[in-house]
Amino acid sequence: MNNDVKSEVSQPQAPYYDEMFINMGPQHPSTHGVLRLVVKLAGETVLGVSPHMGYVHRSIEKMGETLSPMQFIHLTSRLDYLSAHMNNWAWAMLVEKALGIKPPERAEYLRVIMAELTRIASHQLWWGVFGMDLGAFTPFLYAFRDREKINDIFEKTCGSRLTMHYICPGGVFEEPDAEFESDVRSFIKYFAPVIDEYERLLSGNIIIQERTRGVGVLPADRAKAYGCTGPVLRASGVDYDLRKVQPYGVYNRFEFKTAVANEGDSWARYKVRLEEMRQSLEIIRQALDQMPKDGPVREKLPSVIKIPPGRYFARAEAARGEIAFFVVGDGKPVPWRLKIRSPNFSNLQAFPEIIRGWRVADIVTVLSTFDIVVPDIDR
């Protein structure tokens, strides 16, 4: 343990003006959802931020106490809707743990491919919105142009483009489309050079570099103290990726690098996500090569699922961090208590501490690199 790591967040000096409170209200172009930030300013310098959440609270956990496991899948898609497949997967793993079922091999590979495609789609959207928050309006459309290709793949197989209830307890819902494999392979071939185009447009731009380097530094110990996960944690130098630390599914059969950076500033978070997109392409390619060509994709579940008494816990690496479900069952068809550990909630907690001393424009930058999806915070 490195004992001379500074525990305090570095704060630039604030000039001496009168303080005022300003409201980045629930409706704002850059709060990525319905999040209210009450900002205390001295001139242009931020003295403190207080996030007020709860505008999108839909009582999903309470609804989980009235729905059977199969019926709850559609609600898990709507938590962090940009990583819908991964949420479904975490829930499916929990139900399989509770009932003692193992999904077939082909289903496991399909789950990996779907999850990694969702990760790429989520990071594409993040990249576009990041550019837009910083004032470059063009990356938004380039990102959506590429995201359309992934959405088309999902639409052909799962039927929907955003909230796909494809991964279910027992495997996946049904066989993928006949053109699935060729579509995914052509997407991999198309997208690998496009990431370089992204780098040309935003990463190579001196304005982006000046606005993100050194801004909003999150030290590793503070990140661990707040329970941040995902790219936010990995950009602070902590090599913690759930797919490597506790491999679930068939992740231990793939070779890929974890994207880690050391500085913990916004530039590091930006680079980590771009690198994750590349690594996801690698995983998809290996999964397509290793996948068994035929076989069942769904294990039969009993028609009335009764959750055995006990406590069950399952976690997965979503695009924004670690999502986990915790269920207390008592033999009835519905859970007695269902708790969702959402990654964005923990990530947002670190935000007020690191933004002190920076400027109003940096609120938007740092919030954008944290990649918050507000429905996940409010559940």
């Binding site: 009235t66 729905l67 059977s68 199969m70 019926q71 709850f72 899948i73 559609h74 609600l75 063009t138 142009r145 359309e148 088309d152 639409e155 052909k156 197989t157 799962c158 039927g159 929907s160 909230t163 209830h165 819902f173 489309d177 185009e197 040309r200 447009l201 935003l202 190579g204 731009n205 001196i206 304005i207 009835k332 068809p333 519905v334």
Partner: protein, 176 residues
């Protein structure tokens, strides 16, 4: 000297970004916009697209396959389906009176399709489902086959009320 080098790098980065947007500016063939209402005729959805549900008719007899068993209403997570049934006076077998579909509640999850054992439900490919009046979202899917004697009876639709018709959630069913 360092600032000189940094300026040159910065300038090259900026010019490279400008070259990319200029490339897309002059390549008119790369435009990806589709002119929507004009291309409606050529617009088809993928076969598995989840539009709103519809009942399947048997081509030979012209009757709906639905036997009013109520499994779909039981499987639906939020009471979007209400199945009204009664006994046919002649054959004494259960028959479907009205299949009430609350499109304003449906999340297009597909659990009803999976639950149906009689191949009576499918997801249609309608995507232009916007209406001006919210009451038009409570739809009766077997309008053309409602038994004659019951056509004018008011439908017991479940808008706003949790338990009518077939009870769907386990709590509502009293299993808890």
């Amino acid at each position: 000297m360092n600032i000189f080098r940094k300026s040159i790098d910065a300038l090259m980065g900026l010019l490279s970004g400008m070259a990319l947007t200029f490339y897309y500016f002059i390549r008119l063939d790369k435009v990806i916009t589709q002119q929507y209402p004009e291309n409606r005729d050529s617009l088809t959805m993928f076969p598995r697209y989840k539009g709103k549900i519809s009942l399947i008719k048997n081509e030979a007899t012209g009757l709906y396959n639905c036997t009013a068993c109520g499994l779909c209403a039981r499987a639906c997570p939020n009471n979007s389906i209400t199945v009204e049934r009664d006994k046919d006076p002649q054959t004494k077998k259960p028959r479907l009176v009205r299949f009430i579909y609350n499109f304003d509640r449906c999340t297009l999850c597909g659990l009803c399709i999976e639950a149906c054992k009689f191949n009576a439900l499918k997801m249609s490919q309608e995507f232009e489902t916007a209406v001006y009046d919210k009451s038009e979202l409570v739809q009766i899917l077997n309008k053309d086959r409602i038994p004659n004697s019951l056509v004018n009876e008011p439908a017991q639709d479940s808008s706003g009320v949790l338990t009518t018709g077939v009870k769907s959630t386990p709590q509502a069913k009293g299993e808890l």
